[in-house]
Symmetry: C2
């Protein structure tokens, strides 16, 4: 069944392509015999296949400025072209220069290999082209969506079987929404929290109608805040800006050495707010306390039980951003990591992360099935009030039938399959942690809980130097301590620079990919430390690959260190 | 090349499916020989093909409660299943009960048939799985996106060639964003407008940081408003709620008989605001004036030139929601319909409407390439300030490589191809208008500009009755006029009910699909009229099909009329 790769040979000599309606119509229906379509499909698959198999790096060698030159045609195409010619162009210009995010050596971001059947499901989704906004354009798919939402709701909130039997297809309520991504899931949750914080009464139409300013006047509010740890995803700031709360009003609580929200610091802040409120006419309203499971940079999970307790004490809406970690709940034995998540008011969950769906699909789930009514909207020509349309509850308008992908995945893998996948990911994470801890030239900088490892290159002798400084610090007077801290800071500045260089070199070498970030929560508290960040969730990644990656890091580092040596030795 | 339809025969007798890592890994890579994959692909295509070819209606016969019973499994699947069994389930339960939105008799919503090569492109998009948020997960695709945005920017704003040469791949600015849909495009535009209306200065950090309430205090603002016509898309209200402005502060200007914003009414409102402001300390700020091209319910286009002039006079940000009509700009001879759009500050544009892409993709374009910097955000671990990441400017976080679809479509069709498609759509619209106008039992209720026709069933003798009332009204005294208006209202109440019944009957019959809405802007001003709404953009729809649809409407109507006759005759 081998068909020659004609995609690779564009038709240079070609007669004018007909543009009459009959010709165009043929592009709009499945060819009468699917052979032609399948031929393209076959060639494409072969092409995709070879893209993945190709040796030699995560990226193509082209530089960004060179790439810019490939895509700088300022005129909209006028004359029609043949499909096969354009597919050849897509191959040459797009596929060739895409990032191999599914490569087992690509451990830098939350993308992994995806199951190949996703490609089949995208075919179905595109062919059906249902619009989830309303039942008139999405019939079975509306019900699939509700079933899927109900599964994830149960996974998180563990309500009774009878609750789900009653509500799985109950269109009068909503257990949650499918969203474009985690950002929109967080936005949806914070809108619900905001609207619940400032409801309508006999004299006031509620914040949705009145807006933030009038609401604050009516309720005598000085300002409203979101509270999250310093590890909160950047979308929380974004949401504060979008919703008119303002990102100055996101209170960032410090984290402990495990990158978990510092509960005492949180209590202190809430106490201060409480005290402020009791002595002022215009008060501060906490719209939501946000817990994280797990943090995007370090993979840690806040103490959700403690957060729930505090939220109860102050009567605050408690949201958990589990975009990263949520899927791990599928495996019972890991459930304990998330203790308390079942008591959250809302939870963000992503399908394109640990449900291994392609980009992109998020979910927002609400414990209270009436909460989403706080953002319900209707319209005359669609989503009428008496309708069963999913669009009544979503921030988004038109939406594709994305949920087919994780719905099918759960059926094909089952929770049993996910156990195997997550066991593997935990094993990889602990392997990487070991490799780094035992390596003389690398320093582990977090206690990974969910598949994310932070580390940096620090050559052995510099590590010794640092250790000596810490020893001296333990019994130094104030003056000496200041001097030592200054030296430490200078050393870390140099190490930061080295690790930025290392990251550049890793990308240059292009045999593997890790990301980098800055953390203030390492043992060098008070100083931002540049860290490399590895995410080990790809089922195709192996312990041997991780060893290989660190070995290469080491090789590259030692060359870089050569340049920094003199400087660092004289600190 | 015929392969038996094995998908239809799930394997009832099956041994336990292995769940070890080796087995699962095989699902994560393209099978070593693509044969197996292609076999599934082939079967799926065949299945999709037969779904489209199947005679007998837009929908399957199943009722919504019956459908609910198909998707009410409350337990997350535990044991793994074979792909082929799940695909068979998808066929039986999902594909079978999906809405045939691409059927040429489905003229009820803004979905059409889509080119079949979209299915191939979705395969590529899923296989590459690029995340547009950052260059580290989206290399060539970032550049494709910027090229595509530049094309649509030029289509709308027609700046000089040198402007586009300079900016097409200039990562320091942004000509626009790819968004999930039109709602998020409108949201993005209104955020930019809001942030520009309340900027930072030496003493104030700007609305993004400060939030709405503090901003209003600082700028001495009583309230801020959006202004749009009564035909504005419901997403404008949604955006007002989301952004903290409040939907009470969306000023809806009446429309004229062509469903275009009433310019005089608009001027009056702005004059009133101006007068209010000159006599009050706390003023009213107009964040944005929004024009429509075209309206979702009636397909009409506001006088954009006039709106621009007024916006200039009052120094207001001028946004145009061209989610529906924007693509028509691809055909030069229709450009005149949109006169003034090139002077807008921002324009919303949808690819899943008249660019014939599958669900879903919107665009927001800004004339000023620095405007999007008003919502720019950065983060340490991705989208660093010095980065070239598209995610710096988007409301959304993770996003798929959706723009590949319209980018390829423009190359395959060219503007020449789009001319053929839109010529056909204009022809269909004018045919339907004629058929309805000439039909004794139907009343045309709008002057369609962009492929949307509003009409209703009114039997000939009732039409005569209405006409006689209008004749009498022309020389009636106040008292008589009131009586006549009352009769007219009663008649219209009855006709409204009949048309709701008709819509129900059309859906029941299921040979075709139109939507329905309510309009206050017909010649029966002051009364909301139930109208049927047909959208004629599918290249597979023909004049004969439209005639057939109206003939069926007529047949169904006459039966319904029988029940209403007595009531309506006695008014």
């Amino acid at each position: 069944m081998v068909i020659p790769m004609r995609l690779a040979e564009p038709s240079h000599v070609q007669s004018k392509i007909p543009t009459d309606l009959e010709h165009l119509r043929k592009l709009f229906i499945m060819p009468d015999s699917p052979d032609r379509f399948m031929q393209f499909g076959y060639e494409l698959l072969d092409l995709i296949h070879s893209f993945f198999k190709e040796k030699g790096g995560i990226h193509s060698e082209i530089s960004l400025p060179q790439l810019a030159c490939l895509f700088n045609a300022i005129d909209i195409p006028k004359e029609p072209k043949l499909l096969k010619d354009i597919l050849a162009e897509v191959k040459q210009k797009v596929i060739k220069h895409s990032v191999k995010v599914g490569n087992p050596y690509y451990i830098g971001h939350m993308t992994s290999a995806i199951p190949y059947f996703m490609i089949l499901l995208e075919m179905i989704i595109a062919a059906l082209n249902q619009n989830q906004v309303k039942i008139e354009t999405a019939k079975a798919s509306t019900f699939v969506e509700r079933e899927f939402i109900s599964w994830i709701h149960r996974l998180i909130f563990c309500k009774s079987a009878s609750f789900y039997k009653r509500n799985i297809q109950n269109h009068r309520i909503a257990l949650g929404n499918v969203t474009l991504d985690g950002t929109l899931a967080n936005l949806t949750a914070m809108l619900v929290a905001r609207n619940k914080a400032f409801p309508a009464d006999e004299r006031f139409p509620g914040i949705r109608k009145a807006g933030v300013a009038e609401t604050f006047r009516y309720y005598a509010i000085h300002k409203a805040v979101f509270i999250v740890s310093q590890r909160g995803h950047y979308s929380i700031d974004k949401v504060a800006r979008i919703t008119g709360i303002g990102d100055n009003n996101v209170i960032k609580i410090p984290v402990d050495s495990n990158n978990k929200i510092d509960i005492n610091a949180l209590k202190k802040v809430l106490k201060e707010i409480s005290e402020y409120n009791s002595s002022h006419h215009d008060t501060i309203k906490v719209i939501s306390l946000i817990g994280i499971a797990g943090t995007t940079e370090t993979g840690n999970i806040d103490d959700l039980m403690a957060l729930r307790k505090i939220a109860d004490e102050y009567n605050i809406f408690f949201h958990v951003d589990a975009a990263w970690g949520g899927s791990v709940l599928l495996v019972n034995k890991y459930r304990d990591l998330f203790r308390g998540i079942e008591k959250a008011d809302s939870v963000t969950f992503d399908a394109h992360k640990l449900l291994y769906s392609p980009l992109s699909m998020g979910l927002i789930l609400f414990k209270n099935p009436y909460d989403l009514l706080n953002i319900m909207h209707t319209s005359d020509y669609i989503i009428r009030p008496d309708s069963v349309d999913q669009g009544r509850f979503t921030v988004e308008g038109s939406r594709p039938f994305s949920c087919l992908k994780p719905w099918v995945t759960l059926k094909i893998f089952g929770t049993t399959g996910f156990e195997v996948l997550f066991d593997h990911a935990f094993m990889l994470t602990s392997t990487l942690k070991d490799v780094i801890s035992k390596h003389e030239n690398f320093e582990l900088l977090n206690s990974p809980e969910l598949f994310i490892t932070n580390y940096r290159f620090v050559p052995e002798n510099i590590q010794n130097k640092i250790n000596r400084i810490y020893e001296q610090l333990s019994n130094a007077d104030q003056q000496k301590a200041t001097r030592l801290q200054k030296r430490l800071k200078k050393l870390n500045d140099g190490i930061n620079e080295m690790n930025i260089e290392l990251h550049r070199a890793i990308r240059q070498e292009d045999n593997s990919f890790v990301s980098r970030t800055m953390l203030e929560s390492t043992r060098y508290r008070g100083q931002k430390i540049v860290v490399l960040r590895a995410i080990t969730i790809n089922p195709l990644t192996t312990p041997a690959i991780l060893q290989e990656i660190i070995d290469e890091h080491n090789k590259l580092s030692l060359t870089i260190y050569h340049d920094f040596k003199n400087r660092l030795f004289h600190i």
